[in-house]
Subunit: 108 residues, 2 copies
């Protein structure tokens, strides 16, 4: 199954913020930003989430907001952070958000 | 009625993003960022929203996330953007978000 993704100029800031404004989705994006090739299963493993169904909604929100690309590859779905699209449209946004997540994590 | 507000170090990035990830709340924060003294009524007027009740929930979300201070002043509620708290905890975040809102507005 092929998914629809918004073009770069269809991305909207409130959609991106709303998508990233959930702890599980933000954690998933941090995994994707860590580099390497990821599919749904590998992200779940890194996050320690057992149920795949839990994430189906979250992937959709991230996809619809223009934050990730989800594309079928064999029996899995490859996931890619749309870093270039986001950095071009909203310079610095993703980095300040990921820095903020680290700030929360280290306690402040 | 006095409202509760999180201390600066209780603010969490997912709460801030979720709060700002709604077009009405983001628009309200842009009004507050524009400077000047604001109360609920003056923001509603600037946004062209007739019903005060519509905003009660939104003010609460922004308050609980640590984005605004809402405090009683006579018969009204003064609203203040917590810029210093946000800029200290998440440097650059608010500015990149407000820039992003302008990008969306001017079309791209």
């Amino acid at each position: 199954m092929r998914y629809r993704h918004p073009a770069r100029d269809q991305i909207r800031i409130d959609g991106v913020l709303s998508a990233l404004g959930h702890p599980v989705r933000l954690a998933a994006v941090r995994v994707l930003d860590g580099g390497g090739e990821h599919n749904c299963g590998s992200v779940l493993t890194e996050l320690g989430i057992p149920a795949k169904s839990t994430m189906t909604h979250h992937w959709r929100v991230l996809r619809d907001a223009g934050v990730i690309i989800q594309e079928p590859s064999g029996r899995e779905n490859l996931l890619t952070l749309r870093r270039e699209d986001l950095d071009t449209r909203y310079p610095g946004l993703l980095d300040t958000i990921l820095d903020g997540a680290r700030t929360d994590e280290t306690g402040a």
